[in-house]
């Protein structure tokens, strides 16, 4: 399965596995640990790679859900502009019950998540990814719990200047209440597309989920009907009774097939749709980041201009504050240029990402549709075969 997700052409070729760079990950073996409210699931994460930065060709670590969240958050902060692959939702309620199905769904989603990162040409270089895939559990735990603490306070960061600027250069100075937005018609179109797409997909996913339920319900009713038919058969006895019993037996067989298909439908069709929805939500987050970056760029540019005007003024009056002002101005200029760089990076990355996203989704959906159709055909065939096998007996009954 990992091979399919690898977009960077790094699928293991049978002839020379180590000639091309590859990084493949699998998330397996969910194990329930802990008790009661504290219970959680741990997963085995197996990494196979020949990337030089990694320690050795294979590494196995134990990770839990919040570790994956940590990774996603880090990537989101570091790689603005890239659509970070989505993680499955937190769910306080289901976690409690930890049904086998829930665990499997989550495992599958986490596996897809990590593999998407591993096959993204930029994200796969991430140091945080390396940490995630290789660090021992204590380190991981430390990192995970310090996430909110350390990470948010980065002193000597341009980020700090941005934040200061934002609070100082208030709307009062700039004289406008509305946040600044890009006026790029193509980008507007894209934003509109993304938001609409989420709605459509959510609806499709909703019906897909219901369809899974319907399969289960039909399976249940076939089972009940089968039982009733058998009872009626026992009462009737003789030839007719046998016919009823046979019908009941087939009904029960089909019930089992329906339950099985329901599960398949969930994992191979409904989950990919849900994943699609999540992916779109991730794009929305990136859109948000782009808006932030644009705003910062604008604000810093404005502030810089103001500072420049002020500096000129000071220079004309030969104020002794010129030196200080000059220093501030230089800092702002650097910050402004950095903000512009960041914004432009995001724009460039997004443009690449959107192409990749569309192609990826066409692939993913193609597979999902194929599985869906295969499953339905399989089910229909089973149904036809099961009922058809009764016909000779029924014909025989009539002539008896």
């Amino acid at each position: 399965m990992e091979q399919q997700r690898s977009l960077s052409g790094s699928s293991q070729s049978p002839r020379s596995p180590s000639s091309q760079p590859y990084l493949s990950v699998s998330v397996t073996d969910p194990v329930k640990l802990g008790n009661g409210v504290q219970a959680y699931i741990s997963y085995r994460v197996i990494t196979k790679t020949n990337f030089p930065e990694y320690q050795g060709p294979e590494k196995i670590v134990i990770r839990r859900y919040s570790d994956f969240i940590w990774l996603r958050d880090r990537l989101f902060e570091k790689y603005k502009g890239i659509f970070i692959p989505p993680v499955p939702e937190k769910s306080a309620v289901e976690k409690f019950r930890f049904s086998a199905e829930f665990i499997e769904m989550r495992r599958q989603a986490l596996d897809i998540f990590v593999n998407r990162i591993a096959s993204h040409n930029l994200l796969q270089q991430s140091e945080d990814l390396r940490t995630f895939l290789q660090a021992d559990e204590e380190t991981m735990e430390r990192l995970r719990s310090h996430e909110t603490g350390i990470f948010k306070k980065k002193p000597a960061d341009l980020m700090q200047i941005f934040k200061d600027v934002q609070s100082k250069v208030s709307d009062v100075v700039l004289g406008k209440e509305k946040p600044v937005e890009e006026s790029n018609p193509e980008y507007e179109k894209l934003k509109h597309y993304v938001f609409e797409l989420e709605n459509h997909l959510a609806e499709a996913q909703k019906h897909a989920y219901r369809l899974v339920k319907r399969h289960r319900e039909l399976g249940q009713s076939l089972s009940d009907f089968g039982k009733a038919a058998k009872l009626l058969g026992a009462c009737e006895g003789q030839v007719l009774g046998k016919a009823f019993s046979d019908l009941g037996a087939k009904s029960e067989v089909l019930s089992a097939k329906l339950q099985k298909e329901a599960h398949q439908l969930l994992m191979s069709f409904e989950e990919p749709l849900k994943d699609y929805v999540r992916a779109v939500q991730s794009i929305k987050a990136t859109i948000g980041e782009r808006a932030n970056a644009f705003r910062q760029q604008c604000e810093l540019a404005e502030t810089m201009k103001l500072k420049e005007i002020n500096l000129d003024k000071l220079m004309l009056t030969r104020s002794d504050r010129v030196g200080e002002a000059e220093h501030e101005y230089k800092e702002l200029k650097a910050a402004s240029e950095e903000a512009t760089r960041r914004f432009e990076t995001i724009v460039r990355l997004m443009n690449e990402e959107i192409v990749r996203f569309q192609e990826q989704k066409t692939q993913d959906m193609g597979i999902a549709f194929h599985e869906f159709a295969k499953g339905q055909a399989r089910l229909a065939n089973s149904i036809a075969d099961a009922w058809r096998s009764l016909l000779p007996k029924l014909e025989a009954c009539s002539s008896a």
């Binding site: 019906h207 009713s221 009733a228 009462c235 569309q358 193609g366 055909a377 036809a384 009922w387 009539s398």
Partner: protein, 574 residues
């Protein structure tokens, strides 16, 4: 009843979307023109197809599966649009091995000539393999009854309220070739009250028979439901009832039915329906009986009717006393139900009823589950159609167009599959309805069994009575013989008593004959029930199974195509 599990409900809210669906698939190469079952008789050459079209004809055999009441438009069970759908049948597109996928399942014959309850000798030979007919010989008797044209009428007499009561009448049209009727086609207008009368008179005349139960009076519904809906509901029920009566080999020849179907005007009210006058007359008679002014004797001709239905209160009391004695008294009643075979059968029928009831409940939930599945599948298809449109409109990259095409492929299939489920379901309803029909019949069986027990009770009461009378006579004779020359009053009393005994003897004999007759009726009817039930249930099973196979095959073809078209995405181990 299953009838209330109305697929029509979901139809109405899906109607708009079904319009969409129908418009959508118009450019689909798989869609073909519509054909009806009758057309298929001509266009098909494959054996299986011929078999199935004939089964459509054969299922309209009068003596085989319970006849459906009406064509689609008037049956509240179904929404007509589904079957008017020109895209509903994919027939000639699946050319390969004749399979059930080729079959057109039409649940309702369109009102063609095929509807008549008649067996063509030609089709009869071919149909035997698919559908059993109930009679071994091919008879050509038929009675076809239709109930239509409800009309509102004014009550002309006895209206307390000026402007008076209104009631509905229904046009009852009969077509028949049975000579006794005198004519081959005739109509009458009847109101529901007449049907109640008919049913009561049949109950009196045909004790021991399994008489199909008449439709309920539905007093509450008639107030609460919309008039049109209620009238239509009743019309359907009446038609079903009359057709069932016509199917019953004995009742179809009854005078009561003949009069009902042919003679215009008020049906004379039977004595026993008039509860008030029954009680009154009984009350009038009682003092006379108690004070010995009239004979406290049950006239022989009255004996053939159960006491409960009769006007004789005293007789009611006596029989009640007897039944109490039967249940609580120490001594065994003079005559008991000895027929072990019957008793076993009775218990078995009770068990059967329970199983049928349970099966019919599960059949209902099966139908609901199929319906839901079809509905959700359709909604899924629609959602993807919308997505397809959206992606196409907003496409900036080719990958989007490719995806849109894939989605459309899936959506079209889903919409088709949804239609298949709904059609399948309509058929399933039709077949599994047999279970409901037999539940209704169980009521008739209970009626016949209770005819038997009340007849027995009458016999027992009379026998007890006789022994009491004999004892009294003996006592009187013993006393009177002690008096020399005789006791004039006692002698007179003895004479009267002997007279009473004679009349009671006659009554007893009549009662016994009646009881035996009812027993015989029970026996014949039970045999008939067994035979017909076997046939009906087997046909139900076959119909159900054939349907399932057919629609599963159709679905499988549709989905296999989609799997084929998306097979490019499949990676090795998938």
């Amino acid at each position: 009843m299953m009838g209330s599990e109305n697929p029509g409900f979901e139809e109405s809210h899906l109607f708009a979307s079904r319009e969409e669906m129908e418009n959508l698939v118009l450019d689909d190469p798989l869609t073909t023109t519509t054909t009806t079952a009758t057309n298929n008789n001509n266009s098909y050459s494959s054996f299986r197809s011929a078999k199935s079209s004939i089964s459509d004809v054969a299922t309209r055999h009068p003596l085989s599966p319970p006849v459906l009441s009406t064509p689609a438009e008037s049956d509240p069970l179904l929404s007509p649009p589904v079957f008017r759908n020109p895209n509903a049948s994919d027939n000639n597109s699946y050319i390969e091995p004749p399979s059930y996928a080729d079959v057109i399942f039409s649940p309702f014959d369109d009102n063609s000539a095929n509807e008549i309850n008649r067996v063509d000798s030609s089709s009869h030979d071919l149909d035997s393999s698919l559908t059993l007919s109930r009679s071994s010989s091919s008879t050509s008797d038929y009675i076809k009854i239709t109930v239509s044209n409800p009309k509102k009428e004014q009550e002309t007499t006895n209206s307390l309220v000026p402007g008076g009561n209104t009631y509905y009448t229904y046009l009852i049209t009969t077509r028949t070739n049975i000579a006794d009727f005198g004519s081959s086609e005739f109509s009458v207008r009847r109101r529901f009250r007449d049907v109640v009368t008919l049913s009561d008179r049949l109950a009196e005349s045909y004790r021991g028979y399994f008489i199909p139960p008449r439709p309920d009076k539905n007093v509450v519904e008639s107030q609460v439901m919309q008039k049109q809906e209620f009238v239509e509901h009743r019309r359907v029920a009446l038609e079903k009832y009359l057709r069932r009566l016509a199917e019953h080999p004995v009742i179809r020849q009854s005078d009561e039915l003949k009069v009902f179907l042919q003679v215009e005007g008020r049906l004379p009210l039977s004595m026993s329906t008039d509860v008030a006058s029954r009680m009154l007359d009984g009350a009038v008679k009682l003092p006379k009986q108690l004070f010995g002014e009239s004979t406290a004797v049950v006239a022989p001709h009255e004996v053939v009717q159960p006491a409960k239905g009769g006007r004789d209160l005293l007789r009611l009391f006596k029989e009640l006393r007897q039944s109490v004695a039967n249940d609580w008294g120490g001594s065994k009643p003079p005559v008991v139900e000895e027929d072990k075979v019957f008793l076993e059968k009775k218990e078995w029928i009770h068990d059967l009823e329970q199983q049928i009831s349970y099966a019919s409940q599960q059949a209902e939930s099966l139908v609901k589950a199929q319906q839901d599945m079809g509905e959700t599948m359709g909604e899924l298809g629609l959602a993807f159609i919308k997505l397809t449109k959206f992606e196409n409109e907003e496409a900036m990259y080719n990958s989007q167009r490719v995806r849109a095409a894939d989605m459309k492929c899936l959506a079209t299939a889903a919409v088709k599959a949804s239609r298949f489920y709904r059609e399948l379901n309509a058929q399933t309803v039709k077949h599994l309805d047999t279970l409901h029909e037999y539940l209704g019949l169980m009521l008739a069986v209970h009626g016949a069994f209770s005819d038997r027990s009340s007849a027995l009770l009458t016999v027992q009461t009379l026998l007890s009575e006789l022994s009491t009378l004999h004892a009294r006579a003996e006592k009187l004779e013993a006393a009177s013989s002690k008096i020399f020359g005789g006791d004039k009053s006692r002698i007179r009393k003895i004479e009267e008593l002997k007279e009473t005994i004679r009349v009671t003897e006659d009554a007893k004999n009549v009662a016994i004959r009646e009881y035996e007759r009812i027993k015989e009726n029970n026996k014949c009817e039970l045999e008939r029930l067994d035979k017909e039930r076997r046939v009906d249930f087997l046909n139900m099973l076959k119909g159900f199974v054939v349907n399932q196979v057919g629609y599963a095959e159709k679905s499988s073809d549709v989905w296999a195509k989609v799997a084929e078209e998306t097979s490019g995405y499949a990676k090795d181990s998938c």
